[in-house]
């Protein structure tokens, strides 16, 4: 196996990882600040992708589609926060799970009601299509490279937002002590709506960006949602830094495992069998990773120690 292939696969893992980070960041913020498990986060991802596909389809502009995705997902997030989620902050995790599970059903079938059963079309913008040559003779799709950069930029922006701005201070205070920020005169319900909309917008952005190279269809959010949960659990729930590290770990494990495990198995099996068992183990890889991390550190890599 050539080093070019290995580097390309690492880039693929990174790209997958940063997109997972966009999902996971919102999820972990919402959990950290509001203590809420939001299963419907995957639906916001789907909303973003559908909004982008619909607007890009009408206007022909991918960029406008992206804006629409951000706006639609943030709006959907703010609405469900105000109508439903707000009533669940003090509820048991169990109630949160059920209520947001119900939201998944409503969003998924509702979207199918509006857009029909067939996948929508969303393509990458002309300017970003095709491969570029990287140093070392690696051909890599420009769009995926852009995704990596966008993901990194969003991660940096989030870090700045949380470490360096007033809102960030309020968010961090909220993670520590709800009464405390109320005492400081911050309007909690506004802050919560804002954080929820921010998380939703990130999910919507991920949905639109990824939708361009995948299939925009009903139910696209659930597999990603589960992966995002794996990410934040590995990273430690509530920790943005943990989400970032966790996302890269999951992205790399999943991508590299799928490629290298079958190769590894070929050393002591015939090709077909090695392919099958290798890819079988690889598909369980990230869950095994998560199990191992939790057994080692029951609150994740960067989670608050109990």
């Amino acid at each position: 196996m050539s080093s070019i292939l290995i580097i390309e696969q690492i880039l693929n893992g990174l790209q997958f990882g940063v997109m997972l980070f966009l999902m996971a960041a919102g999820l972990t913020l919402i959990f950290g600040v509001m203590g809420l498990i939001n299963l419907a986060h995957g639906s916001l991802y789907m909303v973003g992708a559908f909004a982008a596909a619909a607007v890009a389809g009408v206007t022909g502009s991918f960029f406008l589609g992206l804006i629409a995705a951000l706006a639609a997902a943030a709006l959907a997030g703010a609405i469900i926060e105000m109508v439903v989620i707000r009533r669940l902050y003090d509820a048991a995790h169990l109630d949160q799970v059920l209520a947001t599970f119900a939201l998944i059903l409503i969003f998924s079938e509702g979207t199918r009601w509006i857009f029909g059963s067939f996948p929508l079309f969303l393509n990458i913008p002309e300017a970003l299509s095709g491969p570029v040559s990287l140093p070392g003779g690696i051909e890599y799709p420009l769009y995926r490279l852009t995704l990596i950069l966008i993901g990194m930029a969003v991660a940096g922006g989030l870090w700045l937002l949380i470490e360096r701005t007033r809102i960030g201070i309020q968010i961090r205070a909220g993670e520590n002590d709800r009464e405390m920020i109320a005492a400081l005169g911050v309007d909690i319900s506004k802050l919560y709506t804002l954080v929820f909309a921010l998380g939703a917008a990130l999910a919507g952005l991920a949905g639109a960006l990824v939708g361009a190279i995948q299939s925009v269809q009903v139910g696209m959010g659930e597999p990603v949602l589960i992966l995002a949960f794996v990410v934040i659990v590995i990273g430690g729930i509530g920790s943005i830094r943990g989400a970032f590290i966790g996302a890269l770990l999951v992205g790399l494990t999943d991508t590299l495992g799928g490629v290298f495990l079958p190769e590894l198995f070929k050393l002591f099996m015939d090709t077909g069998a090695a392919q099958k068992s290798g890819s079988a183990i690889a598909s369980m890889g990230i869950y095994i990773l998560m199990g191992l991390v939790l057994i080692w550190r029951p609150t994740g890599l960067f989670g608050a120690r109990a």
Partner: protein
């Protein structure tokens, strides 16, 4: 589970008097992922029933949500409660495996409009089971045959890691005479194929064969087109069918895929079908719609000759396959699976709409590899 009772052509006035003499149970996927396929099969089937003008056929339609346990439950309902004579509709092989063996053993006829799992074609074949679409391997075998014809010598092949995926690669390899540049099983439901595409790039393949149904295929094709690799791609029709093509867009243009049907197959039945389907539903018919349409016409042709209550006569009538198929010549082999021509077709753009055009026959009078195992 939308129930649709249709006494075709029965006017409101005589509705009470129209006694349904034949009851057909259709279990298909109408909600959730993959609903598009079930909807097409249903629409094609109902179109043929409506065109027949018969008012004594009652079709009970239920949605299986693509869940095997729901499908089994519905099948119980069809047989126990509705007491249907004939069943049809199932899209997915795993659902078919859950429903069909039990149903045909309870003396119900089953006409498959889409799934053709290999056990039902070989050792597990049954006199009451008829497949009107294809045995699962067929289109992949045709892809292998086409690859030979196109002069490919080293193909990179991939499919999801589940039984139909294994069957697909086996089917391709059965006919393909060249070497394999790589053989990859992906995760079922996988949406990102960057890793596989990198492997393709790193291999010395001269062509790519893939079987990735539904959203998986859309994702792969978009990402493949963007990767800058220009190796030719072949695949079965599933990733290039009417319903799905618009979502793939330019990425699919020029790709060769194999199918037993296309809208430009030149025969009067097909022409009328394409036209009336478009008139009725406002969209181009898909492969699945054609299969639903053919299934209904097979049923109608048998009903002309015999009543399902006379099982032996009805079975003979079905076996004769005395109907005009949208795909031209159609006959059943000894295991009640089609013997038919499978075409290679190419994705083109007609105005704003992506569609396919036939470029030649990949396999003619093709049966399947399991017929010999069938003891009927």
């Amino acid at each position: 589970m939308k129930k649709l009772l249709l006494a075709a052509a029965a006017s409101a006035l005589c509705a009470t008097g129209a006694l349904a003499e034949v009851k057909v149970g259709m279990i298909t996927t109408l909600s959730g992922g993959g609903a598009g396929l079930g909807i097409d099969v249903r629409d094609g089937f109902m179109l043929a029933i409506a065109q027949s003008g018969r008012d004594d056929i009652e079709v009970v339609i239920e949605d299986d949500q693509r869940k095997p346990d729901i499908a089994v439950q519905l099948s119980d309902k069809m047989i126990q409660s509705e007491r249907v004579d004939v069943m049809t509709g199932i899209i997915w092989s795993n659902l078919a495996m859950a429903v069909v063996p039990a149903a045909v053993n309870q003396n119900v006829f089953y006409l498959s409009p889409n799934a053709g799992p290999s056990p039902l074609a070989g050792k597990g074949c049954h006199q009451n089971y008829f497949n009107v679409a294809w045995q699962n391997d067929n289109l992949h075998e045709a892809a292998g045959a086409y690859a030979n014809e196109a002069g490919y010598e080293k193909t990179f092949i991939m499919a999801p890691n589940y039984p139909a995926g294994t069957d697909a690669l086996t089917g391709y390899k059965r006919y393909f005479k060249g070497d394999l540049a790589g053989e990859v099983y992906t995760k079922l439901g996988q949406t990102d194929y960057a890793a596989e595409i990198a492997q393709i790039r790193a291999s010395d393949a001269d062509s790519v064969f893939f079987f990735l149904p539904g959203g998986m295929g859309i994702s792969f094709l978009k990402q493949y087109a963007d990767s800058g690799i220009d190796l030719p791609v072949v695949g079965p029709a599933f990733s290039f069918d009417q319903g799905i093509l618009q979502a793939v867009g330019d990425a699919a243009l020029g790709v060769v895929n194999t199918s037993q049907w296309n809208k430009d197959i030149d025969n009067p039945t097909n022409e009328a079908f394409v036209e009336s389907f478009q008139a009725e539903y406002g969209r181009l018919p898909s492969l699945y719609a054609s299969q639903g349409f053919d299934t209904a016409n097979l049923l109608l042709s048998a009903l002309e000759k015999a009543d399902p209550s006379d099982a032996d006569a009805f079975r003979e009538a079905l076996r004769a396959a005395d109907f005009d198929s949208t795909r031209g010549d159609f006959a059943f082999g000894p295991n009640h699976h089609p013997v038919q021509t499978i075409y290679a077709r190419e994705v083109i753009k007609e105005g704003d709409v992506f569609t396919n055009k036939i470029i030649g026959a990949a396999l003619e009078g093709h049966s399947d590899a399991y017929a010999a195992d069938c003891k009927m």
